[in-house]
């Protein structure tokens, strides 16, 4: 067992890998170190075994995940088509932060994975307690989604008729 003083002084750096990972996510762009610390107090660290399902297609979406380590595939469980293979510092499921629609695909860990979950309920409490930070995240989120929309439009335009 660690002595109390060791725990206490280690506490400061305990969340630094999480904060570091959060800084790489566009949804949290332009937040101050204090705001990152606040988010790190809200987020949920989850561990998944290889082959474990993170969320199922059709289940109600609650929020986004960020991969701290490991790998995850986003796929259609019926056809087996893989939409994306994701690794460290990649994030997915961010659309569920805004709406309560069922998930459009399934997320599955392809190796033992450590993920960070940031959910709509956390975003709600941030908006209610720190409106300035909540607004920044919402703005960033809308920018991410706009970019996705633009890319989708581009793909549609490029697709031969």
């Amino acid at each position: 067992m660690k002595p109390l003083w060791e725990n206490y002084f280690n506490k400061k750096n305990a969340d630094s890998p999480v904060i570091h990972a959060l800084q790489s996510v566009p949804v949290f762009n332009e937040l101050t170190p204090k705001q990152f610390k606040e988010i790190s107090r809200l987020i949920h660290k989850r561990n998944y075994k290889k082959g474990e399902i993170i969320f199922k297609k059709g289940s109600l979406g609650e929020g986004m995940y960020l991969i701290l380590s490991g790998s995850v595939v986003i796929k259609d469980p019926e056809s087996g088509i893989v939409f994306a293979s994701l690794t460290n510092d990649n994030f997915f499921g961010e659309m569920a932060l805004l709406d309560e629609e069922p998930r459009s695909a399934q997320a599955e860990a392809t190796s033992p994975s450590h993920l960070i979950g940031f959910f709509r309920t956390d975003l709600m409490s941030l908006i209610s307690r720190f409106p300035e930070m909540g607004n920044k995240i919402l703005l960033n989120l809308s920018q991410v989604l706009t970019e996705r929309l633009r890319e989708a439009n581009k793909l549609l335009m490029e697709k031969p008729q």
Binding site: I53, K56, S59, L60, E62, G63, M124
Partner: protein, 368 residues
């Protein structure tokens, strides 16, 4: 899952249930404190979050909000006890005076005039009533004073509940995160959703109840003030109003509890006042000491609350069937007495919300 593991888990579960069953009588007080602190946390949380948004310091926000509530409650209890104590003291002195006996004889004569001769022999003589009443009323007031002084256990519960509430409020979000850590991955998202929705519903329900209590308190004060304008001679109307407001949180029983202090004070203040003793409600129904006026006023306040305030602020979402309310009140009363009755309905409301959310989740989540 491996069959051995299943049996192992079942055995561990059974052992834990047995241990809880054995320990329950010893830990029930702690559980009561935790439930109370959960309810207070739900009440204070919106105010703490709002203040934190302004002063950017959660600890200070909690201290300011809980501190203000403690000061307000202590002021109320202190002022009420000293004023009510004074009132009882004055009344006890009055009981020993000859004037009181004369008033009661006058009242008895008045009642005898109203009652048919055939029923007169059922009523004891005035002197018997006076002797009986002097003895019994003195005992009642002595008991009330005794009850007020034996508050040691209650103070311990209040202090511990406050400490729990402050800790939970300061560490609310970290505490919640630690709790949800134990939810298995498979149920994690749905668990979060369930907790959030229950939290919202409970907060809405409790705030609604609080708002309804404040409304009933204000309306009761207004009603008592109007009664005073027509000569009811009621004192401590602010305290009576506040007691009526909070007693109103106990459905069915509460409104009657709220009337009692008002009626007691009306009797205490108007003994010997012939105008009050011979008062008629609306000039038609005999209402000695304005008792019927007070009851009517509380019924009107009750109706306003039941038909306008509660449906709007509490809403239908947490509305419980009257039968469930009665069963919850009985269980609460048996387990914890009046305090149990006060918290029985919110607890039943919470259980209803949890069941609703679990049912919604199982229908919409494709989990299993």
């Amino acid at each position: 899952m491996d069959a051995t593991l299943k049996i192992y888990r079942l055995m561990v579960g059974l052992v834990m249930a047995g241990v809880i069953w054995i320990l329950f009588p010893f830990i029930s007080l702690v559980l009561i404190m935790l439930v109370l602190s959960f309810i207070f946390t739900s009440i204070f949380l919106p105010a703490v979050d709002t203040l934190e948004r302004r002063i950017h310091n959660r600890g200070l926000s909690v201290l300011l909000i809980v501190g203000s509530a403690i000061v307000a409650f202590t002021w109320f209890l202190g002022s009420f006890m000293s004023n009510f104590g004074q009132q009882i003291k004055e009344f006890s002195t009055k009981l020993q005076e000859q004037e009181f006996s004369n008033s009661l004889i006058a009242l008895s004569d008045k009642i005898q005039v109203m009652i048919p001769d055939s029923m007169l022999n059922l009523i004891p003589e005035s002197s018997e009533i006076i002797t009986g009443l002097q003895g019994k009323l003195s005992n009642v007031f002595q008991n009330i004073l005794g009850l007020l002084s034996t508050t040691g256990n209650i103070i311990f519960i209040i202090v511990m509940t406050l400490i729990f509430t402050i800790i939970v409020l300061v560490e609310y979000y970290s505490f919640k995160r630690s709790m949800v850590r134990f939810i298995p991955n498979r149920y994690f998202e749905i668990g979060l959703r369930l907790i959030y929705n229950v939290e919202q519903q409970v907060s809405k329900f409790l705030m609604g109840q609080l708002f309804a209590a404040v409304t009933v308190a204000l309306l009761s004060i207004l009603g008592l003030f109007i009664l005073n304008q027509v000569g009811a001679n009621l004192t401590l109307i602010v305290f009576i109003g506040i007691i009526a407001g909070f007693a109103n949180l106990i459905p069915m029983v509460g409104p009657f509890v709220g009337m009692i202090p008002a009626i007691l004070i009306a009797i205490m203040n108007n003994l010997g006042n012939s105008a009050a003793m011979g008062h008629y409600l609306l000039g038609a129904v005999p209402s000695p000491f304005f008792i019927l006026d007070i009851i009517l006023m509380f019924i009107i306040v009750q109706q306003i609350d039941n038909n306008f305030v509660t449906p709007i602020v509490v809403g239908e979402s947490t509305g419980l069937h009257p039968m469930i309310v009665m069963i919850a009140l009985l269980i609460g009363g048996i387990l914890m007495g009046p305090l149990g009755m006060l918290f029985a309905v919110p607890a039943a409301g919470i259980i209803k919300v949890v069941i609703q959310e679990i049912s919604f989740a199982s229908q919409n989540s494709h989990l299993i």
